[in-house]
C-alpha cells in the first residue's frame, strides 16, 4: 500500500514535469508580446527594457524555462548576487534555507508561481488559492447533491424496474444528460433567479463572498451557492442514476445475492448490504471523473453565475494573455487530478478486497 502510494507520487512527479514543460513551451510560441501588452499605450523603449528584465523575457528561452522550473520547484537554487533573477532578497519567495553550494543557496520553499501580468504585484499563488477555494466549495456541493440524489434515484429505479416510476426517472436522466451546461445555467439562472426571484430570493449571479454595499469588506453568501451547484450537478446526477441502476440490476442477478436471500435476509439487507457495495465501482469511477473536472473549473457555470472560481480565472487569464495565471492554474489542476486518482484507487481497494494495488 505504502509502496504503491510512493510509487504513484514519484510517477506523478514526472507527469507534472511533463505538464510544466508542455505548457511553458506552448505559451511561449503563442503570438503576442506580454511585455508590450502590459505597457499598452504607454510604451517606450526604456520601460519595455525594464519590464523585460523584471519578467526575464530578455533571456534565451531555454534559460527562461529552467528559471521557471527553479521557481516552481519546492527545492531550488538561488544565486547570492542581489541583482540575479533568482535572488532571495527580492522578497518574492517564502523559503527555508537548507545549505550553500559555492555561489548558490539551496532552499526549500513554497512553489513560486510568479506574479500576474495584469494585476501587478499580486502573486499568482494567492489568486489561485482564493479562486480554488470557491471552485472547491462549488464542486463538492454539487457532487454531493449528485451522488446522494443519484444513488437514491438509481436504487429506486432498479428496484421498480420497468415501472412507470423507473421510466420517468430514466427519461429525466436522459434529458439531464443531454442538456449542455451553458444552456442549463442560463435556464436555471433565468427561471429561479429572475422569474421566481420573489419566491426563491435567489440571485441570478453572485459569488460566495460578496462585497457589501458600502464597500467595507466581504461577507459570505451561502445562498449564491444553490443555483450554480444545482446546475453543475445535473449531468453527473443523470449519469450516476443510470450507472447505479444498471450496475445494481446486474449485481442483483448474481449468485451471491441468491445466497443472501437463501439465508433468509430481508430485502433491505440484501439490497443495501450485499448488492449495493458490489455495484458501486462504476459509480466511483464516474464521480471521481466528474469531481476532478469540476475542480478543473466549470467554466460555463462559473462564468454565467459570475462565480469567482478557477474556471473563470483561466478564461480571464487567457483573454488578457496573463500567462502566469494560466500556467499556474494548469499546474494546480494537474495536481488535483493526480491526488483524486490516488484517492480513487484507495477507495476501490476499500470497496473491493479483490483489487490489489499494483
Amino acid at each position: 500500500m505504502i509502496l504503491y502510494i510512493s510509487k504513484k507520487i514519484i510517477y506523478s512527479f514526472f507527469v507534472l514535469l511533463g505538464t510544466i514543460t508542455l505548457i511553458f513551451f506552448l505559451f511561449n510560441v503563442l503570438p503576442g508580446d506580454p511585455a508590450r501588452m502590459m505597457l499598452d499605450k504607454h510604451e517606450d523603449s526604456n520601460q519595455l527594457e525594464l519590464i523585460k528584465q523584471k519578467y526575464g523575457f530578455d533571456k534565451p528561452i531555454y534559460l527562461q524555462y529552467f528559471l521557471y522550473l527553479n521557481d516552481v520547484s519546492p527545492f531550488s537554487l538561488h544565486h547570492n548576487n542581489d541583482n540575479s533573477f533568482t535572488s532571495l532578497s527580492s522578497g518574492k519567495y517564502q523559503f527555508y534555507h537548507l545549505f550553500n553550494l559555492s555561489d548558490y543557496k539551496i532552499v526549500f520553499k513554497i512553489p513560486y508561481l510568479r506574479e500576474s501580468f495584469v494585476r501587478t504585484n499580486v502573486s499568482v499563488f494567492s489568486i489561485l488559492i482564493e479562486t480554488f477555494k470557491n471552485t472547491f466549495i462549488l464542486a463538492i456541493t454539487s457532487i454531493s447533491i449528485a451522488l446522494i440524489l443519484g444513488l437514491f434515484l438509481g436504487i429506486i429505479s432498479a428496484l421498480y424496474k420497468d415501472s412507470f416510476l423507473d421510466q420517468f426517472i430514466l427519461f429525466n436522466s436522459v434529458l439531464g444528460m443531454s442538456l449542455p451546461s451553458f444552456f442549463a445555467s442560463i435556464l436555471v439562472a433565468w427561471f429561479f433567479g429572475f422569474l421566481l426571484h420573489d419566491y426563491t430570493g435567489l440571485n441570478m449571479t453572485g459569488s460566495l463572498y460578496e462585497v457589501d454595499d458600502f464597500g467595507q469588506g466581504s461577507y459570505i453568501q451561502i445562498k449564491n451557492l444553490i443555483l450554480p451547484a444545482f446546475t453543475l450537478g445535473i449531468r453527473p446526477l443523470s449519469v450516476i442514476i443510470q450507472l447505479c441502476r444498471n450496475s445494481l440490476l446486474e449485481v442483483l442477478s448474481l449468485d451471491f445475492v441468491r445466497t443472501a436471500k437463501a439465508k433468509g435476509l430481508g430485502d433491505m439487507k440484501v439490497i443495501f448490504k450485499h448488492a449495493l457495495t458490489n455495484s458501486l465501482n462504476p459509480v466511483v469511477t464516474a464521480v471521481s471523473g466528474w469531481f476532478a473536472s469540476m475542480l478543473a473549473g466549470a467554466v460555463f457555470v462559473e462564468y454565467i453565475f459570475a462565480w469567482n472560481g478557477i474556471g473563470k480565472e483561466i478564461v480571464d487569464g487567457l483573454n488578457k494573455m496573463d500567462l502566469p495565471i494560466v500556467m499556474g492554474s494548469v499546474l494546480m489542476i494537474s495536481i488535483v487530478f493526480i491526488i483524486i486518482n490516488i484517492l480513487v484507487d484507495l477507495i476501490y481497494v476499500w470497496l473491493d478486497p479483490r483489487i490489489r494495488l499494483n
Binding site: 451471491f256 445466497t259 437463501a262 439465508k263 473491493d352 478486497p353
Partner: protein, 599 residues
C-alpha cells in the same frame, strides 16, 4: 412411517412467462423427502431440477417465474405441517436458512466477494438465532472446524477469492448448516470441483447428515455422483418426473428409456466402446413430444459395442510405428510474479515445469489432472497463445517457438484448439455462420465467401446442426450445440491436429456422450490427431490411447491409458482414480450397508 415425512411436493407447477410464451419448467411433480434421507434429483440442464429446489425456497425470480399450482408441505420438528406456498413472504424468510438451507453450484460466485467468509456465515447465525456478535463468532469457528476447514481462524477473516473452490464450498456448507436445518438442498454442489475435492465434500455432507438426521435433496446431472450418496432417485425430464424409486432399483433395473440412456451414456471405465450410447438410442419421441420406449435394454445395446483387447493392441502398434507429429521437449512455461518498487520479477508461477512427451499421428493423447496442474497451459503453449519460457515444441520437424510469422500462420491453420466454455468462446454479436467462416477468411481458404458459405453449411451438417441456422446467433443454441459450433469452427480450416481443452466439461453427461462420439467420428473421417485435455479421468481414459497424468506443472505418470487405469504407479494417480464415482451396483450396496449400520 408417517411421522418421518419432512418435505412433501404435491403436484407442483412452476411456470415462466416470457413474451407471450408460458413454459412449464416444473410440471405437476410429486415426491416426498423423509427425515435422514437423501433424494437425488437427476436430469439434464433445463429439466426443471433447479427450479424444483428454488420453488421449495420460494426463490423463483419473479417476474418471469411463478409457482402456479400445487403444495409444498413442510413438517416441522414440533409436528406442525405448513404449506410453504401459502405463507407470507415474511414468514417464509424465517424458514430460509433456518429450517431449509441451500448450497449452490458455483462456489466461486455464490459468496459475496466484498465480505469475509466469517462475516457471511455469522450473518445467518445472528439473524435466525438472535445471538450477539461474539457468540456468533464462536459458533462460526466451531462450524468451520466441523466442515474441516484448515485453520478456521484464518479462514474466518479471509475473503472468498483468497481460498480455493473446495474451501469455498465448505464455507457455503458451514453457512447452510449454521442453524441446523432439517432440510438441506444441494444444487449441483460438486459439479465445479475436482473429483478428489468432490469426494471429500460428499463424505462431509454424509457425516453432517448422520449427525443432524437431516433430509438432503441432492441435485445433479450425473447419476454416478448420487449412486453412493442417495437413498432415493427422482429422474426428471422436461419438467416432469419420469421415474422415481430407490437407488438400487433405478441402477439395477431402470424402467424409463431416459433413465436407461442416462445410465448408459457415462464413459465406462472397465471396457472400451466403439462409441458411447446416448439417451436418444433408447427412446423415440412422438409428434406430441411424448417419450416412447423403443424396447432396447442397456445390455442389448452395449453387447457388441466393446473393442476387444486384440483389436486395440493392433491399432496401437500401427499408431506408434510412425514418426511422432509433435514432440515436446523440456517445455517450461513460467509466469512471472512482479514485485518491489520497480516491478522486478521476484518469483515465478511454474505452470508447466519441464514437461516432455510425443504425440503420434492419428493418436489421441489425454492430458489429465486437477485444476491448476498446468494442463491447459500446455495446450496454450503449443499453439503459442502463451509463450514458452524454455524448451522445444517440434511440429513436423520444425520448432514452433522459433517460427516466423508466415510459418506460424501455416502452423495455426493445421493446429486448432476447441475451448472449454461453449458459452463465452463464441462472440455473441456474430452469427454462427460468420463465426465458422472467419478463420477461413483469415487463412484464405477457398476463393470467395459464396464458396465458403457452402463449406460452412457442409460443416454444420457434419456436426449434426441444421445448415439453415447459418444466420442465427450463439444465444439461440444450447450448450451442446454451441460446443458443436466450436468444433465446426476448428474444422473449418482443415486442421490436422486438434487440441480439445476441457471441451466437454461444461456439458451434461447425456450431451457429453454425443459430443465425444462426434469427436471420434470426425477423427476417423478427417484423420485427425487429438490432444484431449480434461480434469475428468473417466472421459480422458475413454477417449485416449495414451494418457499423461499431471500434477503441479509436472508429469506424474505417462503411458497406455488402460494400463494407467488398471495399475496406477503413483499415489496421486491412484487417488484420482479412486475418487471417481462409478455408480457400480456393488458400491451402492456397500454404501447402503454402511449407512444402515450407522443407524
Amino acid at each position: 412411517m408417517k411421522d418421518n415425512k419432512l418435505l412433501e411436493f404435491k403436484n407442483l407447477v412452476t411456470e415462466f412467462h416470457t413474451e407471450g410464451n408460458t413454459i412449464k419448467a416444473v410440471n405437476d411433480i410429486s415426491f416426498c423427502l423423509n427425515k435422514g434421507e437423501t433424494i437425488g434429483i437427476v436430469g439434464e440442464s433445463g429439466s426443471g431440477k433447479s427450479v424444483t429446489s428454488l420453488s421449495a425456497m420460494r426463490l423463483i425470480p419473479n417476474p418471469p417465474g411463478i409457482i402456479s399450482g400445487g403444495e409444498i408441505i413442510f413438517h416441522e420438528r414440533t409436528g406442525r405441517s405448513i404449506d410453504l406456498l401459502k405463507i407470507s413472504e415474511e414468514e417464509m424468510r424465517k424458514f430460509r436458512g433456518n429450517d431449509i438451507a441451500m448450497i449452490f453450484q458455483e462456489p466461486m460466485t455464490s459468496l459475496n466477494p466484498v465480505f469475509t467468509c466469517g462475516d457471511q456465515v455469522m450473518e445467518a447465525i445472528m439473524l435466525h438465532q438472535k445471538l450477539n456478535k461474539s457468540k456468533a463468532e464462536i459458533l462460526t469457528l466451531e462450524l468451520f472446524e466441523k466442515v474441516q476447514l484448515p485453520d478456521p481462524k484464518r479462514i474466518f477473516s479471509t475473503y472468498p477469492h483468497q481460498i480455493s473452490g473446495g474451501q469455498k464450498q465448505r464455507v457455503m456448507i458451514a453457512m447452510a448448516m449454521s442453524c441446523q436445518p432439517s432440510v438441506l438442498i444441494a444444487d449441483e454442489p460438486t459439479t465445479a470441483l475436482d473429483v478428489t475435492v468432490q469426494k471429500t465434500i460428499l463424505e462431509l455432507m454424509q457425516q453432517l447428515q448422520a449427525q443432524n438426521d437431516m433430509g438432503i435433496m441432492f441435485i445433479t446431472h450425473d447419476l454416478g455422483v448420487i449412486a453412493e450418496l442417495a437413498d432415493k432417485v427422482v429422474v426428471m425430464y422436461k419438467g416432469k418426473i419420469v421415474e422415481q424409486g430407490s437407488v438400487l432399483e433405478i441402477f439395477k433395473n431402470p424402467k424409463h428409456p431416459y433413465t436407461k440412456g442416462l445410465l448408459a451414456c457415462r464413459p465406462p471405465l472397465d471396457i472400451r466402446y466403439k462409441f458411447l450410447p446416448t439417451v436418444s438410442d433408447f427412446m423415440n419421441i412422438d409428434k406430441d413430444g411424448e417419450i416412447l420406449d423403443n424396447g432396447i435394454s442397456v445390455e442389448d445395446f452395449t453387447k457388441n459395442l466393446a473393442i476387444t483387447k486384440k483389436e486395440r493392441t493392433e491399432n496401437l502398434e500401427i499408431l506408434f510405428s510412425k514418426k511422432p507429429v509433435l514432440e515436446i521437449k523440456n517445455l517450461k512455461t513460467w509466469f512471472p510474479i512482479k514485485g518491489g518498487f520497480f516491478g522486478k520479477v521476484s518469483s515465478h508461477v511454474k505452470a508447466v515445469n519441464d514437461v516432455s512427451f510425443d504425440v503420434y499421428p492419428g493418436e489421441t493423447l489425454g492430458l489429465v489432472g486437477e485444476s491448476g496442474c498446468g494442463k491447459t497451459t500446455i495446450g496454450r503453449s503449443i499453439i503459442r497463445l502463451e509463450e514458452a519460457t524454455s524448451g522445444n515444441i517440434i511440429y513436423k520437424g520444425k520448432d514452433v517457438c522459433s517460427m516466423n510469422a508466415d510459418e506460424l500462420r501455416v502452423f495455426r491453420k493445421e493446429v486448432q484448439i476447441i475451448f472449454q466454455d461453449p458459452y463465452s468462446s463464441l462472440n455473441p454479436r456474430m452469427t454462427i455462420g460468420n463465426a465458422i467462416m472467419e478463420p477461413m477468411q483469415v487463412h484464405g481458404i477457398l476463393e470467395d465467401d459464396i464458396k465458403r458459405k457452402l463449406k460452412v453449411e457442409e460443416l454444420l451438417l457434419k456436426v449434426n446442426l441444421d445448415p439453415l441456422h447459418f444466420n442465427r446467433y450463439p444465444h439461440e443454441f444450447s450448450g451442446g450445440q454451441r460446443q458443436r459450433i466450436g468444433i465446426a469452427r476448428a474444422l473449418a480450416v482443415n486442421p490436422k491436429f486438434i487440441i480439445c481443452d476441457e471441451s466437454v466439461s461444461a456439458l451434461d453427461v447425456s450431451v457429453q456422450a454425443q459430443v465425444l462420439n462426434l469427436l471420434n467420428e470426425l477423427k476417423k473421417e478427417f484423420e485427425l490427431t487429438y490432444i484431449f485435455i480434461s480434469h475428468d479421468l473417466s472421459v480422458v481414459k475413454y477417449m485416449s490411447d495414451r494418457m499423461v497424468v499431471m500434477q503441479q506443472g509436472e508429469i506424474e505418470e505417462m503411458g497406455d491409458a488402460d494400463q494407467i487405469y488398471n495399475n496406477p504407479e503413483t499415489e496421486y494417480t491412484r487417488k484420482l482414480i479412486e475418487a471417481i464415482p462409478e455408480g457400480k451396483i456393488e458400491d451402492i450396496e456397500k454404501h447402503h450397508k454402511k449407512k444402515l449400520s450407522i443407524k
